[in-house]
């Protein structure tokens, strides 16, 4: 039900009309329609960003009506999912709805649940089941990097255990389950560790520029406020997700002085900024990051004005990718709403994220410790070995 927020469904119908005034017509065709059985999310719009938008969306009664109408329109949604009593996608979605839970952690919990519910009698069977579940999750949303990386790391962490040499299958399975839950716990605690590590870097009287609504960065700022540090935050507006306003709301509740900027005002305000804090959707092998559109721009401006750029990312976001330029990423598109109608001939750049190369980043705060971008590839090798 939450996979496609109702307003997006209505917009897709509008797209099929000959003249669309709010969105560009040339939306790419739904990927792999033949995989409709395994991929119950054929919407070309990146599901990852939909989820984030849904978490942040403001629920009105009108929206609720649309949501209910949408559910009625697709009554066979549940039967598309496999007829097995336990479906990893369902479990994943139920975890994912919690706004505080990261997507990769939800996937890890779902995979741990797969092990628990598994009826396999041999290790090989369990591994195959796990692999299939992991592949299903990954193909559900191919644009989410932390989801893919989280699933991969989970598989490696869980299967790379000496428990596989146990004679009794049940004890081996419980050992694997133990490791799976431990991995889930580590991933959950990652944010607290990162917040602790970054406390030294926030000093009294500093001004922090934040882009996007990263829950890790929010945790860092919250912890600093709890430690009675005096600092000020500048939030970029974060068009079109409105992340700036949401973050400003949350920070105002914590009594942290906040100032909102439009995205174009970043260079203008950069000289009063002491440091830039961003989260990451994924950390790539070069040490660069993939994050919300606008991060690359801010990093460029910060570097030219000698301001440090700090990235807060959990270790399960480390992915085995090496983008050489901006177009090397798998496209993650999302609709952009200009308040005036856009004529159909005009193209709109709808990409939701960009790649920031490592030379513009100063330090990364992860649950593995504080790292410089050049350390990332070393850590990746150790994680994936």
């Amino acid at each position: 039900m939450w996979r496609e927020s109702a307003s997006f469904i209505l917009d897709k119908h509008q797209n099929n009309k000959p003249i669309s005034l709010t969105h560009s017509i040339d939306s790419p065709p739904p990927p792999s329609a033949s995989m409709a059985d395994e991929n119950p999310n054929p919407n070309p719009i990146s599901a990852y960003y939909q989820t984030r938008a849904a978490h942040h969306g403001i629920v009105t009664s009108e929206w609720l009506e649309q949501a209910q109408a949408a559910v009625r329109r697709y009554p066979d949604r549940d039967s598309l999912v496999s007829g097995r009593p336990f479906s990893v996608i369902e479990d994943f979605n139920s975890w994912r709805q919690q706004p505080d839970l990261a997507e990769a952690v939800a996937a890890i919990r779902a995979l741990a649940a797969v092990i628990r519910a598994s009826e396999a009698t041999t290790m090989m069977e369990l591994e195959i089941e796990l692999k299939k579940a992991s592949d299903t999750l990954k193909s559900w949303d191919t644009t989410s990097i932390s989801l893919t990386a989280g699933c991969d790391l989970f598989m490696r962490y869980v299967t790379r255990t000496s428990a596989l040499e146990f004679e009794d299958f049940n004890s081996a399975k419980s050992r694997v389950l133990e490791r799976a839950e431990k991995f889930g716990e580590i991933s959950c605690k990652a944010r607290t560790i990162i917040a602790m590590l970054s406390q030294d870097f926030i000093f009294d009287g500093c001004t922090i520029l934040v882009h996007g609504f990263s829950r890790v960065v929010f945790e860092i700022l919250k912890t600093s406020a709890q430690n009675k540090k005096l600092f000020r935050v500048l939030c970029t507006e974060g068009r079109p997700d409105k992340t700036g306003v949401l973050l400003a709301n949350e920070l105002a509740k914590l009594d942290i002085p906040v100032k909102l900027l439009i995205d174009s005002a970043v260079a203008y305000s950069m000289d009063e900024v002491d440091m830039v804090f961003v989260g990451a959707d994924g950390v790539v092998e070069s040490g660069g990051i993939i994050n919300m559109m606008g991060t690359y721009q801010i990093a460029l401006v910060a570097q030219s004005m000698n301001k440090p750029v700090y990235v807060a990312a959990e270790s399960y976001k480390f992915a085995r990718l090496y983008p050489l330029d901006q177009k090397d990423l798998e496209p993650a598109l999302r609709p952009i709403d200009f308040s005036v109608p856009v004529p159909p001939k005009v193209e709109v750049e709808r990409s939701a994220r960009d790649y920031t190369p490592p030379q513009y980043l100063t330090l990364l705060f992860t649950d593995l410790g504080v790292l410089t971008p050049s350390v990332v590839s070393d850590e990746l090798i150790q994680l994936y070995l």
């Binding site: 590590l197 030294d200 870097f201 000093f203 330090l363 410790g369 504080v370 790292l371 410089t372 050049s374 350390v375 070393d378």
Partner: protein
Amino acid sequence: GTPESATVPYTSSSGADSESKTADKSSLTRKLKHDVIEGVNQLIQEIAGCHEQIAEQAIEHIHQNEVILTLGSSRTVLEFLCAAKEKKRSFRVFVAEGAPRYQGHLLAKELVARGLQTTVITDSAVFAMISRVNMVIIGAHAVMANGGVIGPVGVNMAALAAQKHAVPFVVLAGSHKLCPLYPHNPEVLLNELRSPSELLDFGEFSDCLDFGAGSGSLQVVNPTFDYVPPNLVSLFITDTGGHNPSYMYRLIADYYSADDLVM
């Protein structure tokens, strides 16, 4: 070598274990002591031998008829330059005096005693002379985990001048100088603010320095160290060889166990 014995877990030699294991305990304690002493001796040897190992690499970096700039006085730099001189390379050295302690004067005297052509310049003349210099070589007080350098006050200025004129900035540091901390406030962290008497004569300025007098107050800041960010350093020469600043974290990981780091 890695002092692995220093990280032997401290299990059996502490606390009141069962008395039946007393004999085992004392032999384990002896073994632990032995391992720790061995580790410490290894460390002492490394520290004592680092100057020689760094100086061995001098011949690869200093070429004929070059002009080297250094600041302050460092034993590592002295031995480095002398090793190149012994291999019959002829080159000139500019020594920035390193106010307010003027240790550059001492270094200049040593260099002249070993037969090197030396010129003493003031710290303020570094930018003026940098275009005539082929390489800047300094010793480090500490090397941070991100590849930044803590050195005698004035090296940041030399590093910035070197960057402006594309002059290689080489830092000599024994591996015992590696520090696992990240400099989050480098101007203050690990810095030492010394007495103002090194800069100003108390006799002449005592009335200005007296805060209670109400005639205005004179502040004197006399830091001992400077922080050079990693992007200004071209090369680190350690006893294990020459390295990029972005590689220093690896050496630190070799010497420090992850458990011992602040967490």
